[in-house]
Amino acid sequence: MDWLTSASSVGEKFALMFLAVALFVVVMGAILFLVDRPSRVPRWVVAAAFAGPALLLLAWGLVRPALLTLWNSFFDKRGNEFIGVDNYTRVLTGGQFQSVLTNTAIWVILVPIASTLIGLVYAVLVDRTRFEKLAKALVFIPMAISMVGASIIWKFVYEFKPDQPGVKQTGLLNQVLVWVGLEPQQFLINSPWNTVFLIVVMVWIQTGFAMTVLSAAIKAIPDDIVEAARLDGLGGMRMFRYITVPSIRPALVVVLTTIAIGTLKVFDIVRTMTGGQFNTQVIANEFYTQAFRQNNQGLSAALAVILFILVVPIVVYNVRQLRKSEEIR
């Protein structure tokens, strides 16, 4: 029965997959079959059969590990000795982590603003034009690609060859620099701008999301408002500034906060493009490095907790803004 835990051939892998799905169907089917007697089974048993599996999985696989991580963050490297908040002070004041925190802050500020701005402008520009469907699909497609794939796409754009006679640039961006008469740059190595070039990748991915949600919001602005504004002589930029943006404010808040939360957790891009070298490290990737490379349990736990703590104010802001917009209605 070795293949159950280490399937190696293609046949074994697919067999294992079908077995897993079948097992799952049988177990769930049995549970539902047992409670399918309307009058004889008490209601709480039915509720437990429906909601129980999900709640048990979440309690075991998310809540319990999260609490354990919180606990571990107060212990040392090996997890033996209680050291209080030392891990946190080290992250917040230690020299090597300053750039990690700064970089994360730059990511969380730049990515949501840039993606939302570009997505909004683009959504307005292509709204109800003849090519709307195609135009949206072009910006939308990067969302289907893994961040690893996106990183490789952009790493190729940033590719650098030393500026010598006979050597041609193969990265598009450096070729553009050469065409306009500038020197090719090592975009991913030269700090601090390399962080910005990594951020471009995330903006490239997230703009499609912003555009989709904002485009739907723009289409939902009531006609009478738009027409009244037009009769008042509003057009172009002023229409955008005074009618479009205020009308879709709740959607803007949701888009900004959703992207900000997503950005906090991103580690794929940094890991694939620079590996966190050259001063580009962020918290999410530093967590991975500390947990699985340096094997520093306490520190990695503290980083994970910090990541969680940073998400909370964004979510609170989001919820409060939504409440506010509901009160206005």
């Binding site: 280490s6 399937a7 590990p65 034009t129 910006v139 289907a144 794939g149 193969t170 070729q175």
Partner: protein, 324 residues
């Protein structure tokens, strides 16, 4: 937290059809729809040359990097080293441009890359990791929406709140458990982890859709003597197909494109494509011929799924992000 100015179901997709149909029946006089009237009203604003220029510029910037990768993946290794991918467009005219499938052959079956194996792994990981959380979440969403039990609201808020917990906080303790249970690195741990991590969003999204179903339907079935299991399967499930499709695509893309979970829990034998390609980018960063082909291999399945089922995806996106 459910009222925002956005309609919950696919206005994006419908608007697409609307624009495609506009002007489709030139000879017939009919009352203009709301959207068409606005299309006419806004026309003047959008045809300004600067606006068109900006839109085209963004579209080009968003497309060119992918085209560069795609073109490069079909070029011979030596050409890739010697010249940029844009030179093929000149080469097309004088017949110098060469294309080959060697890179794909090498990426899929070459001894260093061997992505064919990981392609299988990605499939084997993704399918159960989509089916299992959706099923469990459907049942839980039903319980939260239609079964009256004690503590229902508190539990639902708790599940809702779990959406914001970063995966990172759960990884290390879970991995330790898998190791002590002797299953570390197997597909089971990857399936289980993905299922757990997908649940909060799945329950929340499906609950939103489930709440929208008129309670009279459920009441009628209840009067007829149907229990919760029958109501779930006979009344609700058929109506929820679009919602299931929406979340299904979400979860599919998430699992297929995931790096963190695969990296943490899968063994070298069970790792998905993303992990293998990321590894390649680290160890063979200069071998653009294999790397571009490998990257494209890892993208092709989600691209097909995404493009063919875009309509459902957008619906899920709007329901999930905006109603939240």
């Amino acid at each position: 937290m459910t009222t925002t100015p956005l309609p919950p179901t696919g206005p994006f997709a419908e608007a697409f059809e609307e624009t495609a149909d506009a002007g489709g029946e030139p000879g017939r006089q009919r009352r203009l729809s709301r959207l068409e009237r606005r299309a006419i009203a806004t026309k003047g604003r959008l045809s300004s040359p600067w606006a068109s220029f900006a839109a085209i510029l963004i579209a080009i910037l968003w497309t060119i990097p992918s085209i560069g990768l795609l073109v490069t993946s079909f070029r011979p290794e030596l050409d890739i080293r010697r010249s940029g991918w844009w030179t093929v467009f000149g080469g097309l005219f004088n017949g110098e441009a060469e294309f080959t499938l060697d890179n794909y052959d090498q990426a899929l079956f070459g001894s260093g890359a061997n992505l064919a194996t990981y392609f299988v792994n990605s499939f084997v990981i993704t399918i159960p990791a989509v089916i299992i959380p959706i099923t469990i979440a459907l049942l839980a969403a039903y319980a939260f929406a239609w079964i009256d039990f004690k503590g229902r609201n508190i539990l639902f808020v708790a599940v809702f709140a779990l959406q914001i917990v970063p995966l990172q906080v759960a990884l290390v303790p879970l991995l330790r458990d898998y190791v002590s249970a002797g299953v570390a690195g197997s597909f089971w741990t990857v399936w289980l982890s993905h299922s757990i991590f997908g649940l909060p969003l799945a329950i929340f999204l499906l609950h939103n859709f489930m709440k929208d179903i008129p309670s009279s339907l459920v009441e009628a079935a209840r009067v007829d003597g149907a229990g919760h299991v029958k109501i779930f399967f006979r009344v609700l499930l058929p109506l929820l197909v679009p919602a299931i499709a929406a979340f299904g695509i979400f979860q599919f893309l998430w699992v297929w494109n995931d790096l963190l979970v695969g990296l943490t829990f899968a063994s070298p034998n069970s790792r998905p494509l993303t992990v293998a390609v990321a590894e390649m980018a680290g160890s063979r960063g200069g071998d653009w011929h294999v790397l571009t082909a490998g990257a494209f291999i890892s993208m092709v399945v989600p691209l097909i799924v995404f493009i063919s089922l875009q309509r459902y995806f957008v619906r899920g996106l709007l329901a999930g992000s905006v109603k939240g």
